[in-house]
Every structure is written in structure tokens, then in C-alpha cells.
Symmetry: C2
Subunit: 297 residues, 2 copies
């Protein structure tokens, strides 16, 4: 079911998402992982103040009582934030998971940091150090593959090995860059790993106060480009939902039968036949300075 | 360029594929990796006599001289065969690479063996022990990901780490089983690994003399089903050719600019950001009996 929304606040008030749904499958809200980048041009540090913590959202009752939305709607919230480590001063691209009782279960820090033109995040983010956690919610075991991490099959794999049944991929990515890959990567991950994937991208664009450029020969500009939305969910057998709009905020509500994960795994046997020990050894070798590729002349 | 062919013998005689082309991008010839399976029902060993060795094909000149086709057409041949190891008696699903001078460069044995209903090959094939070789031909560095190996992202990855520029995936796979995945997996592999992939599937069906069944409740039968062809090539940026026919043999001729591999890698940086040492360690841990998945309650 694809529900177009005009007012984003409706997302949290819609009965459609109450009782056992995750909120991350939301076109704009769940994908706003940290859109702002000023990597050059003004000498100031990158703007890092756009990380929203929707988990702290409240409903104010007529009597003034405030109730966390996750409790109000019996809903797990996946909340992308900017996290600054007080001890090390490292800034992380982090997703926090709050369960349907309002408890912060934990967090995951983005494993793979892009250096892709204007999407060079390496000046303010470091590679995550939280591994590949899977959160055991009442509604299923979930994991968060943050944004650029969707390009990395090994990232998807480790969430699977840790037992994920649904992997959310909150993204902020633009047309002309990743759009040709959008329908392929999260879908392949669902197939390869025998779980559901939720590919989430924001919609629209933002104008920044200062010009920036990645030195690619184009004039300095104040916008990244159009964030093309098109969020969709894929089942482990490769079937997928229609995508949300490219130009309008939307809400995608889907019922996922998690039994399908086991059924598909038992048909295809990708996990049983994947020979992990061989690849553990191969990747260990490939990580050594002394590695010599296997080439035949 | 997609060239329909009526007579398979034309494949080797077409000037379109002379001078620097690989022959594996051929709908039927390159994909006939070993179609016959009799896993139960008659008590006889699986029929294993259908492995063709096209590399031994010859042209007979009017004077009776025979010239290997790979020399005649300056062409590298990827030739799937059935290989029986004389020492160990193991049967392998093997692809042999013959260079354009008629020299056998080497071979690769299929790494991943399916147990998928009628495609249960585990009674007569073992998992390959030749690693992930890359063959340095005059026209580019190539590798062979045999059939079911396309479902395994780690298999694709290792060919990439060993330096493959083009990876061929000769397959024999049927409608109703893998067809929904066909357009996704090889395409994702090209994107993730920054090389070209050639997804090759045979066309048609075969009738076997004895009935077989995988005990799935369906009546015993003498056919696997329809091999749906649909071969295609994907570039590292995710663009792809049209597919060949689902019902007719065909020849797909494409010019691949291998410089695109480096260009795309430099734009996206997937290789630079992939954190191999972390995953070498993670897969090593996941391969241990003592492994405990990273789960958060």
C-alpha cells in the first residue's frame, strides 16, 4: 500500500502505521540521514546540525501530558541522527533504534563513508565502529544499512549473518548519480541474503546558504540536486513493491511475512552453499600487503 | 549488436566475432555447462556425457588441413566441460579458457554447487578447488563465474580482487525458478565490482530418456523446463545491453571499453571504501563454531 502524504506530520498520526509497524519506511522522514555538506568553499566546518532525532517526538495531549510517539502508536522507530562522541570528538552518521515501549535499544554507526564528488563525507564522518548489529524487536529482527552502505555487498551480508530479517537502508541520494543503481542494489541484497530490504530515499532538494564545490569543473553551487525518492521494499524472493513518488513525500505501508525468509532460503540454499570459511581465508589474504592476485597468463 | 542465428555453426563462421572477441557471449554454446540431471528414479549414475569441449572445434580447409577456430578467428574461447579427475575420481563442472593462439591457458572449477529441487547437482559435482583465477588474455583480463555461482556476491568479489575486467557467467537456468532474479544479480555484480559482466543462459529444453523427480510432490518428468536465454552484458556503471531472445538461439556482439572500469571505480570509490580487513575478520569469526551473532535486545 502506497500512501501519498501532503503533510509530513500525518505520518505519525496515521492509524495505518500504528500497531507493529516500523517507521523507517517513510520517504522523507526516515531518510534524512544528514543531507548537508559544505566540504569546501567557505572555510567553515561542515554544517552538522541537520540530524533529526525523531525518536524524541511527542504527542501533546489536551491535558498537557506528552507521550512518546513510539508508545502511542506501538511502533519501532529507526532514527538517523548526527552523533558527536563526547570523548573522542568523532562525528558519526548514526541510526538509533527505539522500540515500541519508548526504550532506546541501541545504535549503529555508518560503516562506509563516501568520497563521491559533492558527496564527499570523509571530511566530517569516520567509518563506523559498531559492527553490524541486529535489533531484536517485538516485530522482527532488524538492521540498518545506512545510505552509501547499500553499495557494499559485504555490509549487507554481515547483517544477514547476524540474523536480520528486515534491513532498512535510509538514504539521501540524488538523480544523475545513483538513480540507475537504485532498483538493483537493495533488491539484490534481499535475494542474496534471504531477508527483506527497505530502500528509502528522501524527496526534494535543499538550498544551502553558502556555495560549495567538489572541484569537478562545475561552477560552485548551493544545491546537491534532486533527491529522487522512489522508496521500495523487496522480499527475499526478489519481488518488490511499487516505488514511492520521485517528487512527493510518501508513506509506504507493507505487511511482511517473515516466514518467507526461511522458505526462500530453503529453496535456494544460498546460505548453505556460500562457503564462508573459504572467503574468510581469501579476504584475509587479499587484505595483506603481500597479496598476489590469482592471475593466469 | 544482437545477431539472431538460425544455425549454430554460423557462430564460429561469422566475421562479426572474428578478431578479438570472446565466444562465451553466445546464447546456447557458451551456456551448455552440463544440463543433464538424473538425481533419482532410475538408480543409474547421473548422466555426465553432455559436456562439450568446443575449444577442440576445427575448420576443415579444402585441402584437408584443420585449423583450430580460436586461431582462425583470433578469438578467445571459454569452454564449459565436464571434467573427471583421473586421480581422485571427482567430477567437476569446469570452464576451460583457450587463448587466441590455440593454447589452453587454464581452467576454473565451479565454486558453488546447487541443491535446488531438480537442480540438485550435489550428487555428482563437488565444490571447486581452483580459487578465483583471472586469465590475462590479449583482449582483457577475464574470469568465469559458472552458473549458480552468480547468486554468490563473494564469488563475484574475489574475481574482482584478482583483477578481472570481464566476468562471464555461463548458465543453464529455467523459467519459473531463477528468471525473476536474472536481471538483477549479474547487473549488481558489475556495479559492486567495477567490471563488465556477461550473463549467459541457454535456450530451449531437452528431453531425457528416463524420468526423474526431486520428490517435490510433482509427477516424475523427463524435462527440466524451458531454458529462457535472455543473455545480456552489463557495464560497471550499471548500464546494460538488451537481452537476447527467450526462445531462439542468438549471438550478442558488444564492444566493451575496459577503461570504463577504472573511470567508474574512481567516481564511486566502492573498492577504496570497502574495508576488506574488517570483513576478513568478521567472516573468520562467523565461520567459527563459537560464533555469536551480534544481536541487541
Amino acid at each position: 500500500m502506497v500512501v501519498p502524504l501532503c503533510d509530513r506530520s500525518e505520518i505519525f498520526h496515521s492509524p495505518a502505521i500504528a500497531n507493529g509497524y516500523f517507521t523507517c519506511a517513510i520517504n522523507r522522514v526516515g531518510s534524512e540521514t544528514f543531507p548537508n555538506q559544505f566540504t569546501s568553499g567557505d572555510g567553515k566546518p561542515a554544517h552538522t546540525e541537520f540530524g533529526h532525532f525523531y525518536g524524541s517526538s511527542y504527542i501533546t495531549a489536551p491535558n498537557g501530558t506528552r507521550t512518546p510517539l513510539c508508545i502511542k502508536y506501538n511502533m519501532v522507530i529507526v532514527s538517523p541522527i548526527l552523533e558527536r562522541d563526547d570523548v573522542t570528538d568523532i562525528i558519526w552518521n548514526t541510526a538509533v533504534v527505539i522500540n515500541n515501549h519508548g526504550r532506546v535499544m541501541g545504535k549503529h554507526r555508518k560503516n562506509h563513508i563516501p568520497r563521491v564528488g559533492d558527496f564527499n563525507e570523509s571530511t566530517y564522518y569516520f567509518e563506523g565502529n559498531t559492527g553490524h548489529p541486529v535489533f531484536e524487536t517485538e516485530f522482527g529482527r532488524i538492521a540498518i544499512n545506512i545510505c552509501y552502505g547499500r553499495h557494499h555487498p559485504l555490509n549487507w551480508l554481515m547483517f544477514g549473518l547476524n540474523g536480520a530479517e528486515i534491513v532498512f537502508n535510509p538514504s539521501a541520494t540524488i538523480t544523475g548519480l545513483s538513480e540507475p543503481l537504485w532498483g538493483i542494489e537493495a533488491r539484490n541484497a534481499a535475494i542474496a541474503n534471504g531477508y527483506f530490504t527497505c530502500a528509502i530515499n528522501r524527496v526534494g532538494s535543499e538550498t544551502f546558504p553558502n556555495q560549495f564545490t567538489s572541484g569537478d569543473g562545475k561552477p560552485a553551487h548551493t544545491q546537491f540536486g534532486h533527491f529522487y525518492g522512489s522508496s521500495y521494499i523487496t522480499a527475499p524472493n526478489g519481488t518488490r513493491t511499487p516505488g514511492l513518488s520521485r517528487i512527493k513525500d510518501g508513506l509506504l505501508v507493507a505487511e511482511l511475512d517473515l516466514n518467507l525468509n526461511r522458505q526462500v532460503k530453503d529453496v535456494w540454499g544460498f546460505q548453505m552453499t556460500q562457503r564462508l570459511p573459504m572467503y574468510a581465508e581469501s579476504l584475509t589474504q587479499a587484505s595483506q600487503l603481500s597479496f598476489e592476485p590469482q592471475r593466469i597468463k
